[in-house]
Amino acid sequence: MNQKLYSKLIFELSRPGRRGHTLPQYKAETTSPFVLPAKYARSSRPALPEVDEPSVVRHYTNSSTNNFGVDTGFYPLGSCTMKYNPKINEAAVALSGIGSLHPAAPASTVQGALEIYSRLQSLLSEIGGMAEFSLNPFAGAHGELTGLMVVRTYHASRGEGEIRRKVLVPDSAHGTNPASAAIAGYNVVECRSLPDGTVNVDDLRSKLGPDVAAVMMTNPNTVGMFEKNIPEIAEAVHACGALMYYDGANLNALLGVARPGDMGFDVMHINLHKTFSTPHGGGGPGAGPVGVRAGLEKFLPMPRVVRDSDGSLRVLDDDTMSPAERTELDPLGRVSAWLGNYAVFVKALAYILTMGKDIEQVGPLACLNANYVLHSLSDLYELPIPGPCKHEMVFDGLRDKSTECTTMNVAKRLLDMGFHAPTIYFPLLFHESLMIEPTETESIETLDAFIKAMRDIAREAAEEPDLLKTAPLATPVRHPDENEAALHPKVTYQSL
């Protein structure tokens, strides 16, 4: 990546009269050109830039050189599973007949698209150990919310919707878990972790009762440990009539190892942009399919893709349901206008087909990479929970606390050395959390280079702590004033 900041905004390239695109002319046969009645017309032109095409392209190309992606270098961002994004995935979306379809097109004209939805749905069911998936949710957090709505609809169908008002969430959970539970209308009750990072089963048991709707768990959890008491937990949760929710954020660790459905989970979501290699896109679009065990299928959201007896596929929606389907189904409602992020499904399906049975090596190799890093750094970095870890590990900062060098310093120094920083200050269980997830697509050479950088930083902390505290030193931007940004927010060009 470029070490010099390209700092212009597109608005600063604007000159009146320039433009970067032309349109075909249309000569109407019967009507005169359309004129919008003044009542409905905007009073002034929007303040959009006026720029020629070469300048637009050069602007964004220059801007891209100040960005760091998986294709730029190692991206060990814990809990985000920044694995390689295969190029065939992107190419598949661009193929003729794949991307140009309108979502309102009749089913007979989009059988290929519906096949993509249907096949991915069934592959995810196989991998998750679930009966059926809805691919409609747009992201991990959206999947959590949708999954909790499945829970809500299930309890309502049994007349317990008003009674079961609580969702239990471990204190190590991602922030989206409690937030999704709150948006779904639940009261959030936090469960404590044991010193080894796993859920304290006694504490969880004490909180179970007839008012609990679900327990949300991530497994492996956010400290990278497998929740080995899961059969016991699932049994207790089911005994009290609640459901087990699986947050699929860390599913990568279990590919080829174990299936959430076999662990007793009833509802789960998968982040296609983590485990199934679709790009993160600078924050999105992702996809957060939701799977359910047998018996809960009827609660999945509308619309759906169903296969008719003649083998053809059809979109089932409120206005196309047969009376029989209306009686049989009890959908939670709708969480998306159409059938979710279809282009992301194409990419995930391309990945699963490319991997085939090899996908069973993903979990073991992701865990091997993580344990290799763990064993190469635990003499210099504080390891609060001993290994073996699963796909990621959490250090509690440098082992030598006397230098007063923080996790933030380590993270920023890594940027100088050409690596993305790990996830920092999460989970909240430790003061100096430094969470590293290497993923299976990294080679031993890359890991060795990262390990060397981390060890060099530990040495710098001992020898030149004052220098380390000023990191980063070589990035195009140094220490943005985040307090100023929040105190006096300037969030548009117009407000600069």
């Binding site: 009542k39 303040a47 992107e90 979502p103 290929g112 698209a113 709150a182 679009p285 490319t354």
Partner: protein
Amino acid sequence: MNPYLPHTPEDIASMLGRCGAASLDELFSDVPAQLRLGKGGYALGAPMAEAEVNRYFRSLGKKNLETACFAGAGFYSHYCPAAVEAITSRSEFYTAYTPYQPEISQGTLQYIFEYQSMIASLTGMDVANASMYDGATATAEAMMMAVAASKKRRRVLVSATLLPAVSQVLATYAEGQDIILETVSDHNGATDRKALSEQLGAGDVAAVIVATPNRFGILEDFEGLAEEVHAAKALLIINTHASTLGVLRSQGEWGADIACGEAQSLGIPLNYGGPGLGYLACRQSLMRKMPGRIVGATTDDDGQRVFVLTLQAREQHIRRHKATSNICSNQGLMTLHAAVYLSLLGPEGLREVNETSASIAHDLVARLTAGGKLREKFAGREWLNECVLEIVDEGLTPRRILDACLERGILAGKIIGEKEIMVCATETCTPEDVKQYVEAVEAL
């Protein structure tokens, strides 16, 4: 060897050695045996070579019919300039994650800032966030934001003229929030203002949600609406699909407090309905109630103007169950798409997109209705590029129109009733497409 897995057997052996493990299996000694995947593994096929994957998707593509597109209903077939794809396919952009480390993420932060500025200007609002999933969930977030801002009020009035899918998403979200949604009926395809006034008069209303162009493509007249809503101490939310803001009176100009909607119409490929791009903008006073990521400008140690994620105290990773929303992601790559599209088109190009689309649609509708088989369902209403046609001819059904047009490679629109079809045109519809459409209907 698998192309995405770089480990040779020697690598694995030496790495296991450092871990003090005898086998990969040993790394999973903490997974109870009864939970382990059975010996046969997943029921998956052998790995496919890239050429085979390519062939498979090409064969699926052949099972789809590419058509000239006269369907809208929230997703619009506007042309996407080649330069947009050239930028969004740069992997520095698409393989990055949320810009948590501003020192190495200025590319992402900068285009989100530009996108926010463009949306704020199009909507006539002070601030926009870094995007939502789609137009329907953006409207749901707007609803929750308004209810949170009102503190105790629980009623939200929703016009019957919102797209049905949007209303359904609102209902699904409202359930968890104890929000009481009430539908405001329509009169000849537009919000019934008299009914709205009465419902507003009953009190306890947190927000009123309306749309223009609405579910029937009709342009609604919101004159005096904001004054009335504000007098009742409620907030006004207007849903509009983004492209039309190039010519239509903006939400800010109507006096709305929150603007939201789908921005797929900014040249984002149809992709069978996703990913699209939800947008959300509001007045300054509501900024700290906004969900999602927001990018702001600041300076760094060297005095350079730089961009960072800001106002994060609203968000789930800090506030957990007290956050303004559970949303974590933004639609990063889609906002890049919108920003590059709007940069290329500029204000004139976006105006032309709307005027050309409207001219084609009005020409088509004039020719289709001239034959006497069809008529405009909502006579006297103004519309831009989308319109509901009603079948007058007794023997004719929308399905027959759809089928006849499909034979000529044309998607005629979206069937929305037993005798109704909604048609829409964009600048991608050619004179020949229009001619074929008209002839197909004439031949019925």
